[in-house]
């Protein structure tokens, strides 16, 4: 079971990866390892249901792979909220952020879990992953806003925490501004994202600064960035992310004919149809 937390190295029976502990570096063993890719298929922005393994075409470093398995049913969801709690969200924006978070939690289902990370100049784990969603909501209500913004450090930490859980991991990062305080660089966090098995959605407020980092982070992980005009729109944006995420497919294959280590570029398409497919740009396999 080791390596189940690492992108692409999960066993086909990923749903049983309870208590996985990645004590040793992941290794590639063609007989048991599989890559799983979280894929969103849309037709004019509307998710396309009912696809099976035969419908997908996956290329790993340009080599066509045989898709073994596609799951579309509802696996338990692990939602990690990484929220900007810096001084710029103080006041009404924070109230709206709390409401939006509450609305999102209310939409989660019975076996879903949630965690809450906030970042100002400091990254705080407010609530580790738990099925007690009301508790997460209460914790959210206690969040205050102060200090600078370390969105890079916050995203990195949340990505690290997101892995190794039962079910599918969804990380939503909200920030209303640019990074002013991180230690890690954008490149370092993106490098970590390439190694992570988590889909990151970003939500930012359209303003004077371009959210370049969040845009790239979501692209690399196969998520997307939603820019809202005002924090008033946070609630609908969060719910849209959740709805979209629930309609994604998990496509799995055992890599064939590709080198073991390094960066693997992924191309996922739906055979014979002009549909929009969103999936992570690739993955990093062990050395």
């Amino acid at each position: 079971m080791k390596g189940a937390r690492t992108l692409g190295l999960a066993l086909l029976t990923w749903a049983n990866a309870v208590g996985a502990t990645a004590q040793a570096p992941p290794t590639f063993s063609a007989s048991v390892e599989a890559i799983r890719v979280d894929v969103l298929v849309t037709d004019h922005d509307r998710p396309v249901p009912g696809l099976g393994a035969d419908d997908f075409e996956v290329r790993d470093n340009g080599v066509l792979q045989e898709v073994a398995f596609v799951r579309a049913e509802k696996l338990p969801l692990n939602l990690i909220l990484a929220l900007d709690a810096s001084a710029s969200v103080a006041g009404e924006p924070l109230d709206r952020l709390r409401s939006a978070g509450r609305a999102l939690l209310a939409r989660l289902q019975r076996d879903d879990h949630a965690a809450l990370v906030t970042f100002s100049h400091e990254v705080t784990l407010r609530q580790a992953l738990t099925g007690d969603l009301e508790r997460v909501g209460r914790t959210l209500d206690e969040v205050g806003a102060r200090g600078e913004t370390a969105v890079i450090d916050g995203s990195y930490a949340a990505m690290m925490l997101a892995e190794g859980n039962v079910g599918r991991d969804l990380l939503i990062v909200f920030s209303d501004g640019v990074d002013t305080a991180s230690w890690l660089t954008e490149a370092q966090a993106l490098e970590a994202a390439r190694r992570a098995d988590v889909v990151v959605y970003g939500v930012s407020v359209r303003g004077q600064d371009r959210p370049d980092f969040l845009k790239e982070l979501t692209r690399v992980t196969g998520g997307s960035l939603l820019e809202v005009d005002s924090t008033r729109d946070l609630g609908p944006a969060f719910l849209r992310v959740l709805d979209e995420f629930r309609q994604r497919y998990l496509v799995s294959y055992s890599p064939q004919g590709v080198a073991r280590g390094g960066w693997h570029e992924l191309k996922v398409a739906v055979k014979g149809r002009r549909l929009s497919v969103k999936a992570r740009a690739g993955y990093v396999a062990g050395p």
Binding site: R5, T6, T21, A22, Q23, A24, P25, P26, S86, A87, S88, A90, G91, V117, T118, H121, E122, V123, T124, L125, R126, E142, V143, G144, R146, G147, E148, T149, D153, Y156, A157, M160, L161, E163, G164, G177, V178, D179, T180, A181, W183, L184, Q188, E191, A192, R195, G207, Q208, D209, G286, P287
Partner: protein, 1122 residues
């Protein structure tokens, strides 16, 4: 774009209400009451008995039942002990009718428990005097106390108050009612006891009564201790005046347990030492013959005394207080009590194990340093279910937020959002009075609310209740003011604040009017006003409270002005008790005269100065027959122009005297008259506490302003936020620019008083000279002033020409030095002002950008104090002053500016002036390094500036290059500067010169590790060096070296999260996900309550950390003689 304002001025990362970079290296103490369950205060004294300051958590050990506990919360408390000299006594004696919470965060809390059942009636007077002395001489102005009678008829007497007169009045009602000591009582009734013994009855018939009285007194102590339990986070002292009681151990334990649970120290004071009754040592004779059969002998009284005192000793010893027995030196005891309540350490912990409820837990506090003594309570009782003592929450007006309810419920007022309150009771019917209540929230309080730059943006919620002495609420109201809509409204609000004039109907009695308000997140405060509503029905002659208004009062917006009060006084009454000399006051009071015989009634207003001299008197006479139509009520109103009233403190007395009888009724209040504006600067600081309307300190003309400024130079005390500094602080930027031009002219006139002034040069606006702005008379005034200034330096009319020159030079130096200090202080000693938005007609080249959390907040006018100080030192008078003062000014300005992120680029100018000064070059380097930082680079990319304005921040690379050059120059002059080398290493890294960076940073690390006993500062630099070295090694692809460096940083700061984050990233790149995850978990703050500290968060400002010392060095260098 020219002159001193040519650069973009970037300002304001840290403002009031926002997290400032924490003072390095130790952050402020945190005392999270929620995270602990046992709170203990520890008094630590040295061998001389003096309190020991500055201990840290590590200096203490706490043991519970012998098991060492982890101290989860720690704070040092130091409440200043106020001198109670004659001056303060005089100040205290001034009648105050306004309450404010401007001060009061640091206070001592006392409950004075007077044990009626156990104090001999003959010592009542001595006790009253003694307690009165404590209140008068030992309580500071912010301290609060409550007086409670124990074991008697009337238990709880008062609410907490700081009003000494009210406390003294409560104490005045005390009368002891203890019977004689048991031995004496039995000796007196010996025959009766013999009779009882014959029938087998316990002859000690008073034992039951004594036991009952003891229980009653102890029950009062338990009630008080439970009451105090709800007030965590401070030491509370009960002063228990009692001659001791015969109590069961269980009852005493119950008191001790309850007191200890609430962190309450009991001081037991036995008044027998004061003399005046039996058992005092002077009155030991027995009233009846000895009787050994009944155990009554010569030592009986002494035994009684000791037995009674035992309970006092236990109460005191077990609660960390003290027993004051057998002494008449209560003054010394009072001093000890005050001292113990002033300097102590609060230790909080969560017991590691739990015993059943009610169990008593032994606690021991030890100090690790030798030679110190520690006094702390010795245990606590875990509460039983029934012991949980939450007092029912106070009722408040409907809709009051939980935050304000909580403030109203607290026993004393809380500072924070400043409030001022006054109230006056008027008769309505014989049973009821109406109370006019005036509440003022000053503008500056709102301006520093959650949106510091946007006063009133959060609106205001205000709630009030009237609470009687028993804690019952009689009336309450809630008011809400919505957020200010327009910029103009916000500007008025930020300057003047709000006033509310309300009216409450209350029956006669003593009340505490509690007002709480909040203006945005974290900005809240409360003020308590003690009010006596008289029984007007019972007095044939009575006077109401007095309301005061002034011509300036309507300037303050009054969103709620009660219609009845408005009908009586057209202008809203004010809480201001400081008035400008050109103001006109209006006094309003009512007199109720129901005397039966026909008479005249004279109502007189007297104004008396501090020396007791009457300055003004006005009398109004009415015939009683004229009052019949109004049921004897007279509405008295008097206009009082202050013109001609010299500046100073006054008592205003309104007095009603009928021509029959000798009775007089009167009310008094006090206020201050300010000097006129030129003199005012020096005196504002001396204005007494009390809410005041915002002062308009802006002089009417340029010459008036220059006059006021020259007076301010003389009046300002360096480093003190006094009146002169406050005055110049209030002047808008345009005024300071004009002032700079006026000072230029003035300094020329100093050298040559006859110089023609047709054209003048404006130092802040280089270019051709401009036509003189002064009228002929103003020019004359300028020349006279210049002559006077020179004369102060010895250049009189009869002086020789060289002497005149020397005097002029002396005056120039004096002005430059004092001016530079004044404006530097004006810039640094006050909280951030409300914004001065850029206005039409303002110069576009004198703007600064405030930014917060990486986003541009607004563009505003530069206040101009740093600039004026720079003009004075570096422009007009540089030659006269010499280099050192100028250099020190630049260093102080750079350190302060960089620490507070107010970047003015004066460092570049300093580097031009002092190209061989390593410190100056260092600060110039750090400025450019800051400009190259992602935060500033991102900001300038999206900066919106007024048309015609450009910023002077270069590209990241060009700024880094400049920084590199400056650091290298600094290091050539001072190669041993670890900090300059550290910065150079970081800059080289950012320029991509990783190997060079590693070389520099390794050199820093080596130098620092060779220190045998590194200072805090060296540890700090070692942390940075290790972090940056790790980053450079990582960039070079050397993970092992990077890991080692980050580990070194983690060792320097074990609780800092950034090294862990860096270690995580190194582990991840080496595919060690487990280690990466473990390090991330370390990096994540476990809880928002746990304050973590990481020097990385302050790297961009840490170079300015020594700014207080730099400012002090500057002030010292600019010191001038009288």
């Amino acid at each position: 774009m020219a002159g001193l304002a040519a650069s973009l001025l970037l300002g304001g990362g840290a403002r009031a209400g926002e997290p400032r970079p924490a003072p390095l290296p130790v952050p402020a103490a945190v005392f999270p009451a929620e995270a602990i369950s046992v709170e203990i205060d520890a008094l630590v004294t040295d061998a001389a008995g003096q309190p020991v300051r500055g201990l840290t958590r590590q200096d203490f050990e706490v043991f519970e039942e012998g098991v060492r506990q982890e101290i989860a919360a720690f704070a040092e408390v130091a409440v200043p002990i106020d001198a109670t000299g004659p001056g303060s006594a005089r100040a205290a004696a001034r009648p105050r009718d306004v309450a404010t919470n401007e001060t009061g965060g640091e206070r001592r809390v006392y409950v004075i428990v007077l044990d009626e059942a156990h104090i001999d009636p003959r010592r009542s007077t001595a006790v009253r005097q003694s307690v009165g002395e404590f209140i008068e001489r030992h309580m500071g102005p912010a301290d609060v106390a409550a007086v409670v009678f124990a074991g008697g008829r009337d238990r709880a007497a008062e609410l907490f108050t700081a009003d000494k007169r009210r406390l003294a009045a409560s104490v005045g009602r005390f009368a002891g009612r203890a019977g004689p000591p048991p031995a004496l009582e039995r000796a007196r009734t010996i025959d009766h006891q013999r009779e009882l013994l014959r029938y087998g009855v316990n002859p000690d018939t008073s034992a039951l009564a004594r036991s009952h009285d003891a229980r009653a007194s102890l029950a009062t102590l338990v009630t008080v201790a439970r009451w105090l339990q709800g007030m965590p986070g401070r030491r509370k002292a009960i002063l228990f005046f009692s001659e001791g009681l015969e109590a069961a151990t269980f009852d005493v334990r119950n008191v001790v347990g309850t007191a200890a649970r609430g962190n309450v120290a009991i001081y037991a004071l036995d008044p027998r030492g004061l003399g005046g009754g039996p058992g005092s040592g002077s009155d030991m004779e027995m009233a009846a013959p000895l009787d050994r059969e009944f155990g009554i002998d010569a030592q009986s009284l002494e035994r009684d005394r000791r037995r009674a005192q035992t309970s006092l000793r236990v109460l005191a010893d077990e609660t960390g207080g003290a027993a004051v027995l057998d002494t008449n030196d209560l003054a010394g005891a009072f001093e000890r009590i005050v001292r113990a309540s002033s300097h102590y350490y609060l230790l909080g912990y969560k017991p590691m194990e739990f015993l059943p409820d009610g169990a008593f837990r032994r606690v021991e506090v030890r100090v690790r340093r030798p030679g110190l003594s520690v006094a702390a309570r010795k245990g606590y009782a875990r509460p039983r279910g029934g012991d949980r003592d939450a007092t029912p929450e106070l009722a408040a007006a409907a809709g009051t937020s939980a935050e304000l309810r909580e403030l109203l419920h607290r026993p004393w007022a809380e500072p924070g959002l400043t409030l001022g309150v006054t109230a006056a009771a008027f008769k309505v019917t014989n049973e009821k009075a109406t109370v006019a209540l005036v509440i003022h929230v000053p503008g500056p309080a709102l301006a520093t609310s959650g949106h510091g730059e946007n006063p009133g943006a959060d609106g205001l919620e205000l709630s009030l209740v009237a609470v009687d002495a028993a804690g019952r609420v009689h009336a309450g109201e809630r008011m809400v003011v919505g957020p200010a809509g327009s910029a103009e409204a916000r500007e008025v609000m930020g300057r003047q604040g709000f006033r509310f004039v309300r009216r409450l109907e209350l029956p006669p009695g003593a009340y505490q009017l509690r007002v709480a308000a909040r203006a945005g997140p974290g900005r809240r405060g409360s003020v308590f006003y003690d009010l006596e509503v008289p029984r007007y029905a019972e007095a044939p002659l009575a006077i109401s409270g007095v309301l005061l208004t002034s011509r300036a009062a309507p300037r303050t917006p009054t969103p709620s002005f009660d219609a009845v009060v408005k009908a009586l006084l057209e202008s809203p009454p004010t809480v201001a008790r400081t008035f400008a000399p050109d103001d006109i006051l209006t006094v309003y009071a009512e007199v109720y005269d129901t005397l039966e015989s026909a008479h005249d009634l004279a109502v007189t207003t007297r104004l008396t100065n501090e020396a007791g001299r009457e300055i003004l008197q006005a009398t109004d006479r009415r015939a009683s027959t004229n009052l019949q139509a109004t049921g004897g009520g007279l509405r008295y109103k008097l206009d009082l122009p202050l013109a001609g009233v010299p500046p100073g403190a006054y008592v205003l007395r309104v007095e009603a005297r009928p021509t029959v009888g000798t009775e007089t009724v009167a009310r008094e209040l006090s206020f201050d008259v300010l000097p006129n504006v030129a003199e005012r600067a020096a005196d504002v600081a001396g204005a007494p506490a009390g809410a005041s309307e915002p002062l308009n300190l802006r002089p009417a003309s340029r010459i008036d302003r220059l006059t006021a400024w020259l007076a301010a130079l003389e009046g300002h005390v360096p480093g003190v936020p006094d009146g002169p500094a406050r005055m110049v602080r209030s002047w808008p930027p345009a005024d300071l620019r004009e002032l700079a031009a006026d000072v230029t002219v003035f300094q020329k006139l100093l050298s040559d008083p006859k110089r023609a002034l047709g054209w003048v040069f404006d130092p802040a606006r280089p270019g051709p000279p401009r036509r003189s702005p002064y009228a002929e008379a103003e020019e004359e005034r300028l020349r006279t002033m210049a002559g006077q200034a020179a004369a102060r330096c010895g250049g009189g009319l009869a002086a020789s020409r060289p002497a005149l020159q020397a005097a002029a030079e002396c005056a120039r130096v004096r002005i430059a030095r004092r001016g530079a200090v004044l404006h530097t202080d004006a810039a640094v000693l006050f909280e951030e002002d409300a914004v001065r938005p850029q206005a039409r007609g303002d110069d576009a080249d004198r703007v600064q950008v405030r930014f917060r959390d990486g986003q541009q907040n607004l563009t505003e006018q530069v206040a101009g104090h740093w600039e004026l100080a720079q003009v004075l030192l570096d422009g007009l008078f540089a030659e006269a002053l010499g280099d050192e003062a100028v250099r020190l000014w630049y260093l102080a300005a750079a350190a302060y500016g960089q620490y507070h992120e107010r970047h003015t680029r004066l460092e570049d100018r300093a580097a031009q002036l002092f190209p061989s000064d390593p410190q100056v070059l260092f600060f110039a380097g750090t400025l450019h390094e800051t400009f190259a930082s992602p935060r500033i680079q991102r900001l300038v990319r999206s900066l919106r500036l007024p048309a015609g304005t450009v910023h002077a921040v270069g590209s990241e690379r060009s700024e880094l290059r400049k920084a590199e050059e400056l650091f290298r120059r600094a290091l050539r002059l001072q190669p041993e500067s670890a900090e300059a080398r550290l910065r150079l290493g970081r800059v080289l890294h950012r320029l991509g010169a990783y190997e060079a960076a590693v070389r520099e940073l390794r050199q820093v690390s080596r130098a620092l590790s060779s220190c045998p006993t590194p200072s805090d500062d060296e540890h700090l630099l070692a942390y940075y060096a290790a972090m940056f070295l790790g980053a450079a090694e990582e960039a070079l692809g050397r993970p092992a070296e990077a890991r080692a460096a980050y580990a070194q940083a983690a060792a320097e700061r074990p609780h800092a999260p950034t090294p862990q984050l860096a270690l995580s990233r190194v582990a991840l790149s080496g595919h060690d996900r487990a280690a990466a995850l473990a390090a991330v978990r370390e990096a994540l703050s476990p809880s928002p309550e746990v304050e973590r500290e990481d020097p990385w968060w302050h790297y961009h400002v840490v170079q300015g950390r020594e700014f207080p010392a730099a400012l002090e060095a500057l002030r010292r260098s600019l010191e001038v003689g009288p």
